[in-house]
């Protein structure tokens, strides 16, 4: 019998393929390695990220689902909760106990109940509603708070870039 992490990832992959949530595609990059996934996330409608298709990479730890995966956008992103290198900083991706920003309640943290689907849905809602208290990208948080027009302009540029439209 294969390892439990592998079996669970296979089950989640099957589930995501059979019932894909709207606007989200995810799966292993290579079917020989289930611990590295790629995901495509569509920008939520009615937000400044609407229309964009954002590629991201998910790296699962060997002890998944006891520990959370890591998620990193592979395209350029400008968002209060995404580091400049694309790493996503939301509470569902943090195990209780480690709190890089010191603001998260443990109720939203990682636990085996969570899943790839829930992570991706949280990321979609994060795109729609940034949490500007988290300082993953301080510039973006500040701009989101104080200069929304400028923020929207940058977001639009990123959306166009992900679609391959020249800006």
């Amino acid at each position: 019998m294969a390892g439990s992490a592998l079996r669970r990832l296979m089950a989640e992959y099957k589930q995501l393929t059979l019932n894909p949530p709207e606007g989200i595609i995810a799966g292993p990059i290579n079917e020989e390695n289930f611990f590295e996934w790629e995901a495509l996330i569509t920008g939520p409608e009615g937000t400044c990220f609407e229309g964009g298709v954002f590629p991201a990479k998910l790296i699962f730890p060997p002890d998944y689902p006891l520990s959370p995966p890591k998620m990193q956008f592979t395209c350029e992103m400008f968002h209060p909760n995404i580091y400049a290198d694309g790493r996503v900083c939301i509470s569902i991706l943090h195990a209780p106990g480690d709190d890089p920003m010191g603001y998260e309640s443990s109720a939203e943290r990682w636990s085996p109940v969570q899943s790839v689907e829930k992570i991706l849905l949280s990321v979609v809602s994060m795109l729609a509603e940034p949490n500007d208290e988290s300082g993953a990208n301080v510039d973006a948080a500040k701009m989101w708070r104080e200069n929304r027009d400028e923020f929207n302009k940058i977001a639009e540029r990123i959306v166009r870039r992900t679609l391959g439209i020249p800006t």
Partner: protein, 579 residues
């Protein structure tokens, strides 16, 4: 492409150097002497050797591993850099022995080390790979055999050399190869465990435990080896700085393995003692999928106090990380356990350690709402009497009921009973004595006198907390009972529910004996009413049964009954919503 160009260039250079030497000296031995004497020629020869080693390494890794995964390669590079810096450090210690042979031995050591790392990564990957071919097994087995025998040979060689020639660099090699030998043993054990697991169709639950103990034992052996090595080196040479980083990591890993074993043991112990196995009916009632592994629960499963059910093995590995329910995050170490051993708990102190009386917040609510205030206002009765007039006037102006009595009997705090509490406070609840606020104003004799009293007071406080705990247990039990009696009366209109509720009553009653009589009769009433409703409307559907239950109650008009009826309704609501 670039690698090929470099290798070709290096071969060409070497040929030129050798040809030049031979052209000048015409004979073999003089040519060799010429090359070794000339620094540029030696440099070329060294580079050639280095490239040869790299090429051999590539060939070997192709033979034993095929294509390296990116992660494996990165891991290898990272570790190689550390190893190279450590080797350079080691060179500074042994600069007297700096000969080509010595350099060659160190290179060989590094070379073999990298194969150990790769083998380790590969075997760890077994658990995560969906396809393990026959070729994989052949490669791993052959590699382990080769590495193991080489390590063994070098350890033996180093041992004999040290025995005959005394301590030398060979000591370092012997020690390094001994470490590598433990690594081979570790990898082999892991490989065997993974292979057994892969060959069976059902998940092997104890594998995690075996792996844990393997890690612990191997960690211990490595730590002993490192400590022995450092001790020997310090005695005969100098401080082996180059061994410190790996030693630090080994000790850290060992500590982690030790912690893991302790946590795992605790988790297993908790699971075996505190949580019941889930019955087939409970598995049927739940949706039967373990939320941790997303697989069906057909094998051993456990039910937590919050009624969430998981595989025993899944829960065990989770509890090593956190002692919470994965679904609802209930802290299972602090949660009250509704056990059947309720009787006479008020006399017997509970085995669990009592939390710090005033530090930790109480789980549900604070029965002594005025406690923090009184803490500031009212010192303990005895201390009060002895308070000299220097005490702040604010304290004396506040009316203190304990003052008139001045006895050992502590003051009675006013209870603020939550409306959700199905019973008022029983008599055995003696309120905690309050510690005096200011010790500075007391003389040493008074303090000594107080010490004795304080001890009693602390004991009383602990007892009080124990009582609270018992009460909370009882509260949980009663809640269960309410839901159970309602559920049974509504689902099974036969005499069976009556007996079942009565048995749970029997369990609950002893805790409630010291409660007021009103409280003890309540559950009885509850069950009898459910029984009567069952007998009256045996064909009724679930909703009817619960309605008739409330109706029978409402025929009796007394304020107490009215209150109870409302409480019952409150408990019924969630149950009905669930159905």
């Amino acid at each position: 492409m670039r690698a090929l160009a470099i290798s070709l260039f290096s071969v060409a250079l070497t040929t030129i150097v050798v040809a030049n030497a031979y052209y000048q000296k015409k004979q073999f031995y003089p040519s060799v002497v010429y090359i070794t004497k000339s620094n540029p020629s030696m440099a070329v020869i060294y580079i050639q050797a280095f490239i040869l080693v790299l090429l051999t390494g590539k060939l070997m890794s192709k033979v034993f591993f095929g294509q390296l995964r990116t992660a494996e390669f990165e891991h290898l590079m990272e570790r190689a850099w550390y190893a190279i810096t450590e080797t350079c450090l080691a060179f500074t210690v042994f600069r007297d022995d700096f000969t080509p042979k010595f350099v060659a031995l160190f290179t060989l050591l590094l070379f073999l080390k990298s194969f150990h790392w790769l083998a380790e990564d590969r075997v760890d990957y077994m658990e995560r790979s969906p396809v393990i071919s026959m070729l994989f097994h052949m490669r791993v087995l052959f590699l382990l055999l080769v590495l193991g025998s080489l390590d063994f040979h070098f350890v033996q060689h180093a041992y004999q050399s040290t025995m005959t020639n005394g301590a030398s660099v060979q000591l370092v090699f012997g020690f390094e190869y001994a470490i590598l030998l433990t690594m081979v043993a570790n990898i082999t054990i892991k490989y065997v465990l993974h292979t057994i697991d892969l060959s069976s169709d059902a998940p092997w639950e104890d594998k995690a435990v075996f792996l844990l103990y393997t890690e612990l034992v191997m960690g211990l052996i490595k730590v002993i080896l490192y400590v022995a090595f450092v001790a020997i080196m310090v005695r005969i040479h100098t401080l082996p700085l180059f061994a410190f980083r790996p030693m630090y990591y080994t000790i850290r890993d060992f500590k982690k393995a030790f912690n893991d074993v302790i946590l795992s043991r605790r988790a297993i112990h908790n699971m075996n003692t505190l949580y019941p196995d889930a019955t087939p009916e409970e598995l049927q009632a739940a949706d039967n999928v373990c939320i941790i592994c997303r697989e069906e629960m057909t094998t051993a499963s456990k039910k937590l106090p919050c009624n969430h059910i998981f595989h025993t093995a899944c829960l065990r590995s989770w509890f090593q990380r956190q002692q919470t329910c994965p679904t609802c995050r209930l802290n299972i170490l602090r949660a009250p356990t509704p056990t059947t051993q309720q009787p006479r708990q008020e006399q017997r102190p509970r085995p669990q350690p009592v939390p710090n009386p005033f530090g930790a917040p109480l789980p549900f609510f604070n029965p002594f709402q005025p406690l923090p205030n009184e803490n500031a206002q009212a010192p303990a009765p005895d201390a009060n009497q002895a308070v000299p007039p220097t005490t702040p006037p604010a304290q004396t102006t506040i009316p203190q009921p304990s003052r008139q009595g001045g006895t050992q009997q502590p003051p009675l705090p006013q209870f603020t009973v939550s409306p959700f509490m199905p019973f008022s406070f029983p008599r055995f609840m003696s309120p905690p004595p309050i510690p005096p606020q200011n010790f500075r104003s007391l003389s040493s004799e008074e303090l000594r006198r107080m010490e004795g009293n304080e001890r009693e007071n602390v004991e009383a406080r602990i007892k009080c907390l124990q009582n609270i705990q018992v009460m909370l247990d009882a509260a949980v039990l009663m809640m269960n009972q309410y839901t159970l009696s309602i559920a049974t009366s509504s689902t099974m209109p036969s005499p069976v529910p009556q007996t079942s509720t009565e048995t749970t009553n029997g369990n609950a009653e002893p805790t409630a004996t010291s409660n007021s009589s009103k409280e003890t009769e309540e559950p009885n009433d509850n069950s009898s009413s459910s029984g009567s409703s069952a007998s009256v409307g045996s064909s009724n559907a679930s909703n009817h049964a619960s309605v008739s239950l409330t109706e029978t109650d409402s025929t009796v008009i007394s304020p107490e009954e009215e209150l109870r009826r409302r409480r019952l309704q409150r408990f019924q609501q969630p149950v009905e919503q669930q159905q």
